[in-house]
């Protein structure tokens, strides 16, 4: 493990992991990337999930429960540059469709209304409680770079990482920006 390689941690909030899947679509670039970056932890490609101090922190997904808030803040505290991957992390994405109804009504509908007799609303002691609204990352923590898309294409993910490796904050517009 070379000391001078920038370190990266990735994590997924409330999302489908589609952005991480799209990242894996960079194909053979992964090999090149392994030479240039040191993956410290990642929720789909590594066994290590604990976030330690890294240079680049990447988050996918919407902030929709207490755990998301905690992990997002942990990532923010532990990284130099925080990157939001995908529409969910950048703008809130499809998860924000729950914002049209109060949380209680949604839980009631899902766990009681549309379920069998034994089902009950989960206890927040065991399952993280839902936040009042589903939100994009930057309503909770500071975000340095945005890579929107549903999901962002592998090319755009690669472009974003390459810019970061060049020491720049990627900024997408025109042909590169899609959502």
């Amino acid at each position: 493990m070379a000391e001078d390689k920038p370190t990266v941690a990735t994590a997924c909030m409330c999302g489908c992991s589609g952005c991480h899947m799209s990242f894996l679509d960079v194909d053979e670039f992964v090999k090149e990337l392994a030479e240039l970056l040191e993956f410290q932890s990642s929720h789909v490609i590594m066994d290590i999930k604990d976030i330690e101090e890294v240079d680049i922190g990447i988050l996918e997904g919407t902030i929709t429960n207490e755990e998301n808030v905690e992990v997002a803040k942990e990532m923010r505290d532990n990284c130099e540059i925080l990157v939001a991957w995908g529409d969910c992390a950048c703008f809130g994405g499809i998860m924000t469709m729950r914002n049209f109804e109060p949380v209680e009504d949604i839980l009631e509908e899902c766990y009681i209304g549309k379920s069998d007799d034994e089902s009950e609303i989960p206890d927040p002691e065991h399952v993280p409680a839902l936040t009042e609204k589903a939100r994009g990352l930057d309503e909770v923590i500071e975000v340095d770079a945005y890579i929107p898309g549903c999901p962002p294409s592998a090319d755009i993910i690669r472009y974003g990482l390459e810019k970061l490796l060049e020491g720049e904050i990627p900024k997408l517009d025109k042909d590169k920006l899609r959502y």
Partner: protein
């Protein structure tokens, strides 16, 4: 028109006085971003995306700013970019845009501008307002979640279609698009033309039959002419892998504003009628399929044996098909007619008898918007020639006096100044109008004479007086005859009235291809030995049905199954309207190109060759 010189981003350009900065820039290839502006409509300055810097001190929307001498315009300063970004973000975040499952993802003017301006995050939180969706209509969905209140649909409905169905309802954040007094679109006064969804910059109003079939960039585009009525609108037809995706009106055609009607825009997308691919010969109650060549031989054999042969073609075919079909039929000794041509022959005869000159006939139907009086006989125009109907409504909205005469419901009741309901034929009424015009108002006071002319018709002489008064006041009046009028005397009296009053005429018939005016046609045998019917893609015509029922042996050439093909003894496939190519003549007498949208899928590749071969088999 005087010219004005002004500067845009350091470049000197000239424009006509009274023009907007946006329109002048467009002519010089300078693209100013916009959402609410549309060339076919009035500018309302709603979206504030087209803002520009004026003389280094002010920021104004380019669509509402008139050019002035020495005006200094900057379109891309840092400040402009900042405010444009802010406006775009506010437009986007105020509503519920979800690009990932929106029908218009990839075809959206708002999305394009968001990308172009690099909006990769929001500075303000989103609102998530509760918005209604109206999917009651057969073809059109209005999803207020994606509506940016640009008002294009509202303006298109009023200014282009003259229908005033769509409007803004509610105030402030509750503001939304509603139909009439907030009724479901299906129950509204909507004429289903689909102009609203064509101009919608986002996915707020979209076509049920085209949704998720592909974005325009991935489709093949064919520019053609609609053959559903004689207005002959220019169409832009989108197809993907040989399938129809969407049909739009060409917006370059400014008079029509790019509109189409339900027949042209939606019906081909909805049509699921079974296609005819093979020749079907029915003998002793059993159906037998045969090859095209065998079918042709069979047809030739039947035609040879027949003594009295009647041939009838749809009026919605191309000149080339009509020519080759009539040629083949005449070689076989048939009498030849086209649906709609009968009305034209009556007119020709009337014109000859009353010695009427061609100058009475208008060669541009958009002229109705310039007339001060319109006398409309037969309001079925609303259904048979919907785009012409939109011009009539627009005229009436702009102050043209509209007089309607119909046997049934007045389909222009919202707009007509005088509406007379009179049983068909309308000849007596017109005769009375003629008489009053000729002999003066005194003649109507002789009530016994009036009632002797009107016979049993229940028309109030006051209405007749009103009509005459209007016609006399007018300096430019147009008489429009709908296609449902087919009795000779009505036509004669209406033409006489036009001659007497110096009115202009628009005479409609059932055929969309007015090539029938120069094509030789005649009445056919009503009870022939053999009837050969060449159908179009429209619904079955009564004349054709009658002919087949009365024939000993009937041949129907058609592209899809219908009542006609069920009754025919021999069914031969024809091309669909999207497989055909050639030319067609519209109501203005202009020759229009009809392009092939799809490759012929069946054995038949060219109707012309088929008929040439049929003619040779004599």
């Amino acid at each position: 028109m005087s010219t004005v010189k002004f500067t845009v981003d350091g470049e000197k350009i000239s424009a006509e006085k009274g023009e907007t900065v946006m329109s002048a820039c467009k002519k010089h290839g300078i693209d100013i971003p916009k959402l609410c502006q549309h060339d076919a409509m009035e500018n309302v300055m709603a979206c504030r995306v087209c803002i520009v810097e004026v003389n280094g001190e002010q920021i104004q929307p380019a669509c509402g700013l008139k050019v002035e001498e020495d005006l200094e315009i900057k379109t891309e300063t840092d400040e402009i970019k900042k405010y444009r970004r802010m406006n775009l973000e506010l437009i986007y975040r105020s509503e519920n845009h979800y690009c990932m499952f929106c029908e218009s993802d990839g075809d959206c003017e708002l999305q394009d501008l968001m990308w172009e301006n690099g909006i990769d995050y929001f500075e303000h939180p989103r609102l998530f307002p509760d918005r209604p969706i109206d999917s009651s209509h057969e073809h059109i969905v209005i999803d207020n979640n994606r509506c940016i209140r640009c008002g294009r649909c509202v303006r298109a409905c009023e200014e282009v279609v003259g229908n005033q169905t769509l409007a803004f309802g509610g105030r402030g954040l509750e503001n939304e698009i509603v139909a009439d007094a907030d009724v479901p679109l299906k129950e509204s006064t909507c004429v289903s033309c689909g102009m609203c969804l064509q101009v919608c910059p986002t996915g707020a109003i979209f076509n049920k039959h085209s949704m998720f079939k592909g974005i325009k960039d991935e489709c093949d585009l064919t520019e053609s002419t609609c053959l559903r009525c004689s207005v002959g609108c220019e169409t832009e037809i989108y197809t993907r892998t040989g399938h129809l995706v969407e049909i739009e009106g060409a917006e370059s055609e400014m008079e029509s504003g790019g509109q189409l009607c339900e027949m042209g825009r939606f019906e081909p997308l909805v049509d699921r009628t079974e296609k005819i691919d093979d020749v079907i010969y029915k003998e002793n109650e059993t159906e037998k399929e045969m090859s095209l060549a065998k079918g042709l031989e069979k047809a030739a054999e039947v035609l040879d044996e027949g003594d009295k042969i009647s041939a009838m073609a749809s009026g919605n075919l191309t000149n080339e098909v009509l020519d080759s079909f009539s040629e083949a039929m005449r070689t076989h000794g048939a009498l030849f007619d086209v649906v709609g041509a009968k009305r034209h022959r009556f007119e020709k005869e009337v014109k000859r008898r009353i010695n009427m000159i061609e100058g009475h006939f208008i060669d541009d139907i958009t002229e109705v918007m310039k007339a001060d009086h319109i006398l409309l006989y037969d309001t079925s125009v609303r259904d048979t020639h919907p785009v012409l109907a939109s011009y009539i409504r627009r005229a009436a909205m702009n102050g043209t006096r509209l007089i309607t005469i119909d046997a049934y419901e007045d389909r222009f009741w919202e707009h007509s100044d005088i509406s007379i309901s009179v049983e068909s034929p309308k000849t007596q009424l017109t005769r009375l109008i003629n008489q009053v015009v000729r002999e003066g108002k005194g003649s109507i006071e002789d009530l016994t004479r009036v009632s002797s002319i009107l016979g049993g018709l229940r028309v109030h002489p006051r209405d007749v007086m009103q009509v005459v008064k209007h016609l006399e006041e007018s300096t430019y009046d147009i008489i429009i005859l709908g296609s449902e009028i087919i009795d000779r005397w009505s036509i004669r009296h209406i033409f006489e009235l036009a001659k007497l009053e110096g009115s202009y005429l628009i005479s409609l018939n059932q055929a969309s291809n007015q090539y029938i005016r120069s094509l030789e046609t005649e009445g056919v045998y009503e009870e022939p030995d053999v009837a050969y019917v060449l159908a179009g893609d429209e619904d079955d015509q009564e004349d054709m049905k009658k002919l087949i029922e009365n024939a000993d042996f009937s041949i129907v050439q058609a592209s899809k199954r219908s009542e006609l093909t069920e009754k025919a003894d021999l069914v031969i496939p024809s091309l669909t309207m999207f497989e055909r190519e050639g030319t067609s003549v519209n109501i203005n007498g202009e020759e229009k190109e009809v392009e092939r949208v799809m490759e012929p899928k069946g054995e038949l590749k060219s109707e012309r060759e088929f008929f040439e071969e049929l003619a040779e088999k004599r």
